[in-house]
């Protein structure tokens, strides 16, 4: 079974050990049986994304065939104060709380509308920004494809409501770690709305990966979560 980790950081984080190079990450992926990882470089999140290029080359070959890099964007109407989505990026991440910008202000709305118009995916962290903000964005940009990561076990109820309300939104399931939460979501919205991710290194990747192999759902549903949902959502079949 092909497994894609759709929620992972690559590189050092301030709160603890993490694979800091591409080769270390690939070793860990091999250990876990993960074929491909969708990674945001940690310096895009914990550093200033505008300066990310200075660090990109130090970490290894970010163009590795088993990685898809997700850069962070910071919308701004002032040249130099933000950074927009690179032309080649099919997936971008926004951290409006961490990077301190207004998700719904005009510069952001222009970026999100542009992503929606070109079928690109926006990744949002539920714990960082809260589900109400995600809900507001999805209402305002109903065509925008959104991957919500890091929902976690306390927000199963609200996460389910979000999935029901917004058909262009999918949810990373690796951090849905209360008893039976993944099966509950599969039952109510379908496995085609869930995609595997680990949240590593801020969350443990072994737990999520082990869980994927021990779910009480059908093989077809596991395949969807492991890779199918993501490939269909992003048109990422050519990442193989």
């Amino acid at each position: 079974m092909r497994v894609i980790d759709t929620h992972r950081l690559l590189g050092p984080v301030p709160t603890g050990p993490a694979p800091s190079t591409v080769s270390a990450l690939i070793d860990r992926m091999d250990r876990l049986g993960i074929d491909h990882a969708v990674v945001t470089p940690s310096w895009h999140v914990f550093g200033d994304p505008r300066a990310a290029g200075e660090y990109d080359q130090q970490i290894g070959d970010l163009s590795h065939r088993r990685l898809t890099v997700v850069p962070c964007v910071i919308p701004s109407s002032v040249r130099g104060a933000g950074i927009g989505p690179p032309a080649e990026a099919r997936i971008v991440r926004a951290c409006p709380v961490r990077h301190r910008f207004d998700l719904m202000a005009r510069p952001g709305r222009e970026v999100w509308a542009g992503l929606a118009a070109t079928g690109r995916v926006l990744v949002l962290d539920a714990m960082e920004m809260g589900l109400s903000a995600i809900d507001a964005l999805c209402k305002a940009e109903s065509e925008l494809k959104v991957l919500v990561v890091n929902l976690r076990y306390r927000e199963v109820r609200r996460g389910l409501e979000l999935l029901i309300a917004h058909p262009n939104l999918i949810l990373e399931m690796g951090t849905l770690n209360s008893a039976g939460a993944v099966e509950f979501m599969v039952e109510h919205v379908g496995a085609d709305r869930l995609t595997f991710g680990t949240g590593a290194p801020l969350h443990d990747d072994g737990g999520a990966r082990f869980a994927l192999d021990h779910l009480f759902v059908g093989d077809d549903e596991v395949e969807l979560m492991a890779h199918g949902t993501w490939e269909r959502f992003t048109g990422a079949d050519d990442d193989h």
Binding site: E155, A179, G180, E183, G207, R209, F210, H214
Partner: protein, 251 residues
């Protein structure tokens, strides 16, 4: 066979637990190789200790050899008689303290009568542990463990990664104190650091099911960089030693 020393049954007030039943717990246990879970009932922690303890006992009696019970103590109520009576139950492994929910310090005098009882019974104590709270920090749980001779399990190994080094020192220096690993915060590098600091003999497995899903807890150890021997001790060997000393036999 894995022994889960920290599990629950029942639902919870401030978020949805999709699968709170013993049926689900046991089905999942079977799936991942957990042979027995020691449970407290979440209603015992949340609002009525005696009611919840009765539910936990009934679940264990219905599933002999697959469930054991932590009797929950709420120090604000007088449950001495109930607890004394049921500590003798062969499916009871000891007491569950949740000083955080009950907002009473684990070091406080209202716990002491219960702690003396469980010590006399030769059984264990599982206390919620949480770094930087007024109620049950790792140092607080260690202080209480020092006052007694029976086994104390520090729940969640203190919960937060930044206390791991302190937990390692405490568990290494307090002979009857063990670090219990459940929780969603600790990633495998921190567990490896804990084991390196305290030694693989003083760390035990817990899942915190059904709060958390035991598949995540098992996987975190399974895919860690710990040795096979260390994993075996954490998953079962250390718990077997504790249970043997308590006179509680596994089926």
């Amino acid at each position: 066979m894995i022994i889960d020393l920290h599990a629950h049954l029942g639902s919870w007030h401030d978020f949805l637990l999709p699968e709170p039943s013993s049926e689900w717990l046991l089905r999942t246990n079977e799936r991942v190789g957990i042979g027995i879970s020691c449970v407290s009932h979440l209603s015992a922690i949340a609002f009525d200790a005696r009611h919840g303890n009765a539910l936990a006992l009934a679940a264990a009696e219905g599933n002999p050899g697959r469930l054991a019970v932590w009797l929950t103590v709420n120090p604000h109520f007088d449950d001495i008689g109930f607890i004394r009576e049921h500590l003798a139950h062969p499916m009871v492994w000891g007491l569950k303290l949740h000083p955080e929910v009950h907002q009473y310090p684990v070091t406080g005098p209202r716990y002491e009568p219960y702690l003396r009882m469980v010590e006399e019974a030769g059984l264990a104590v599982l206390s919620h542990g949480e770094t930087r709270t007024p109620w049950s920090t790792p140092a607080d749980v260690a202080e209480v463990a020092r006052r007694h001779t029976n086994t104390f399990l520090l729940g969640h190994a203190g919960l937060l990664a930044d206390s791991i080094d302190q937990v390692a020192v405490l568990a290494a220096t307090v002979p009857n104190l063990y670090a219990e690993l459940s929780g969603s915060q600790l990633t495998h590098p921190f567990i490896e650091r804990l084991v390196e600091g305290v030694g693989e003999e003083k760390v035990v497995f817990g899942s915190d099911a059904c709060f958390l899903d035991q598949r995540w807890g098992v996987g975190r150890i399974h895919y860690s960089n710990l040795s096979g021997e260390a994993k075996a001790k954490i998953f079962s060997g250390n718990a077997e030693r504790i249970l043997d000393a308590m006179g509680r036999k596994l089926q």
